[in-house]
Amino acid sequence: MKKMLKTIGLGVLLGALAAWPVFASGGSLLIKNGTILTVTKGVIAKGDLLVVDGLIKQIGENLQAPAGVRVIDAAGKFVLPGIIDSHTHIAIAGTNEGSEAITPEADVGAVVNADDTAILTALSGGVTMVHTMHGSANPIGGPNVVLKMKWGRPSEELIVHDALRTLKFALGENVKQSSRTILPGGPPPRYPQTRMGTNAIIRRELARAKDYMEEWDRYTKLKASKTPPPTLLPPRKDLRLETLADLLRGKMVARCHDYQATEALEFIGLAKEFGFKVQAFEHAWEAYKIADELARQKIGISVFADSWAYKMEAAEGIAYDAGYCAKKGVLVSINSDSGERIRRLFNEASKTMKYGGLTEDEALRLVTINPAIQLGVEKIVGSLEVGKQADIAVFNEHPMSAYARCDITIVDGDVYFDRAQYLKDKEDAAKKAQDAKKGGRP
């Protein structure tokens, strides 16, 4: 107990030094009397949730707050795991390295921008974690990064190192530059310009990476042998192929932007041919056409609820896609892909109840535990369970209601968004401004 209080004290002190958000609770707090939507362990109609040092310590009834720990009254409110967005491009400086078609060395994790106000937008919608991805300009983009929405903290502290390492692939209209106008004097068209070329260029690069990997494996093996040949030289280091070799070695997984069923099936074929894991298809507007294949091969999808018909390849993107695939056993998440939609991701997920007939609980999974599984962080976040990290949101209504509003967002036990506090601050500021006016100051 003493030790815990000391830690809290230290947390507060450190917080003050590093301009910690005003609502800092030192990573510990007690949420009382809320309806707790655990996602994985059912619903507790009225319960308490104790957070200590950023972790969920206890879920139950009549829990007592240790001395000095902030108590949040959640009576009449809903407590849920922080929402996870499986596909965004927020909080980075630059999204697409579009100058070349193959750029697996262009790492999004190297350009994290913790000052992007999209983090605040995300927090205001209960989002605590995002998968920030390389853009879709290239057949092979770059590695992506998983971030916690810790506004005010330095970039390094946002990065979730426990997550799977993911590599962005892309197919279809964006890659073949369908909407690009070739201007006189401007850059010439870039290969590939067709879906055939897209598949071919990915195969070519994977074949190169396979050779590269095998060359290195051979070298490493010989070097480790009792009598390495005296003339043994290491192969040339190639950062581009190094990343792809990691994919082939199973150290990374693919996240592939696709729209049409054919291109998805062919990409699955490439994955089989070269032996890498497709973790999920992004957007996947025709996933419902190949739901059986996806379910059988345990390939997930990360999709919009119903944002469709914005381009030709999205013309058959029906709102039943997510719900239908989920019922077929595909691991589905709903993503925002937007610094705006991110704050109403819960609304988007709720649409699968109408289109697809999912239950409240099933729909909520699409923005909590399912994206957590897709990102390989389901052991630490994505549901409310003892021992998991305290990424939590408090809503006025059930999050699958159209009348729902996020009131509090907590990351690692610290309150990063508090609507009541926001309203109070706003009122105070308005009052101050009025007083200043009365005082005759400029």
């Binding site: 709102a319 610094g339 109840m353 109408k354 009348y403």
Partner: protein
């Protein structure tokens, strides 16, 4: 037998074209029994009855005599609502927004009072049956872009031709002032605006005043020439011709205006020119709500699927604007400002309710308020005797995402609820 085949052919056609089941048989009476009636105007009735005759509501309430020979519809466990009205959409003018070949809502140039939405309205757009099957039975379809965008039309979401769909044409002349961050925001609406630089109505108002003065002079010359054969008729001026209806007060001007200072400027302009006006957008309307109320200008709220145009106004500024306007006494109505997401109309209303607007008012702002704003409330917008039988039977609150729409009637005719979504789903379900 022949008749029957013809009918089934019609049914198949109906599904293929995404339009409604056949025609309403004249004299045929439909009775909806046992629904919880939410008339929007007046008290709710539990276990009530609605009698539909000749496309209109003939009787409604608890104790209603059921005419002999009527088609009885068991509506127990369902709620009956008036069909919703989308107060600003691009339905029928946009199909695939990124494919120019399918987009007809934005004419080139800046001064286009001569373009009329009705004339390009694609009545078999795939987005119309999708909206209809979510309980939306009418929509304003607006041209956009430039300073004067063209004439909008109010349509019902049913009909075999564009002209069959007309409720009111023209509904308004669309005038657009620049957005707070210059333009109205793009795909996903992900931009975040910092300043208020882009919006400045005053220069554009000078231009409009000149056009209006020219149109009035043109009208005068025309009248003089009619009276005096010695005077030459002025050459046909399509801009003036198409501005005259709003100058005469026959057609309202729907004015897209966004920043608070622009709203103030435009309020003065409306007064100066004696226009019948409706605002669209008014994202900073909450800052000048009492002035909007004093001028008695209704506000069509734009899509809430957007960022606050001015970050410093607060993250919730768009969500709070409707309730703040409503509290000040301004009449509001919601809109999708979309074709591909027009079905989401009820969720914009619910979002405003999540931020303080009374749920009953949110419902009114997609039914009776828009009907009043567009001057069609005597015939639609609520469930009342004599009004068009635009009725939605739903298994829950119509503004909730989870709610399923069971039946939709437009002018008393039961609509086909199949659509592009269900067609594709059914096709691949067979796999």
């Amino acid at each position: 037998m022949i008749k029957r085949t013809a009918l089934s052919a019609l049914l198949i056609l109906g599904i293929a074209a995404g339009s409604s089941f056949g025609q309403a048989t004249p004299g045929k009476v439909i009775v909806l029994q046992g629904a919880r009636i939410i008339p929007v105007v007046g008290e709710e009735v539990d276990g009530g009855t609605i009698v539909i005759k000749d496309g209109k509501i003939a009787a409604i309430g608890k104790s209603v005599t059921i005419p002999a020979g009527a088609d009885l519809v068991d509506a127990r466990g369902l709620r009956a609502y008036p069909g919703m009205i989308d107060s600003y959409s691009f339905l029928g003018l946009q199909e695939i927004t990124g494919v120019n070949e399918t987009v007809d809502n934005r004419e080139m140039g800046r001064i286009n009072p001569q373009v009329w939405a009705i004339e390009a309205l694609r009545y078999d757009s795939m987005h119309i049956p999708i909206s209809r099957s979510n309980g939306i039975t009418a929509a304003l379809v607006a041209p956009t872009g430039g300073l004067i965008s063209g004439r909008s039309v109010l349509i019902k979401l049913d009909g075999w031709t564009n002209r069959e769909m007309v409720i009111k044409n023209p509904a308004a002349l669309q005038i657009e002032f620049p957005g707070i961050r210059g333009g109205r925001g793009g795909f996903g609406g992900g931009q975040r605006g910092g300043g208020v630089g882009a919006a400045d109505a005053s220069r554009l108002i000078t231009e409009l005043k000149e056009l209006f003065a020219e149109a009035r002079a043109y009208e005068k010359r025309k009248v003089f020439a009619q009276k005096n054969l010695m005077l030459a008729r002025p050459a046909f001026d399509e801009t003036s011709e198409n501005l005259l209806p709003i100058l005469k007060g026959e057609v309202p001007a729907m004015i897209s205006v966004h920043a608070d200072r622009d709203i103030r400027t435009v309020l003065q302009f409306i007064k100066d020119e004696n226009l019948k006006a409706i605002f669209f957008g008014a994202e900073q309307g909450w800052k000048v709500a009492s002035e909007i109320k004093a001028a008695n200008i209704p506000v069509i709220i734009g899509s809430l699927y957007d960022m606050p145009p001015v970050w410093d106004d607060g993250y919730d500024q768009l969500f709070m604007n409707p309730v703040l306007l409503h509290r000040a006494g301004v009449k509001i109505a919601f809109s999708s400002a979309s074709a591909t997401a027009a079905k989401d109309l009820p969720y914009h209303a619910a979002k405003a309710a999540a931020f303080g607007l009374d749920r009953k008012d949110a419902l009114k702002a997609v039914t009776i308020y828009p009907a009043e704003i567009f001057g069609v409330s005597p015939t639609m917008g609520s469930l009342e005797i004599g009004k068009a039988a635009n009725i939605v039977l739903a298994d829950n609150d119509i503004l909730e995402t989870r709610t399923n729409i069971k039946k939709v009637y437009i002018d008393g005719k039961e609509c086909d609820l199949s659509n592009r979504y269900t067609e594709l789903l059914d096709k691949f379900k067979k796999r």
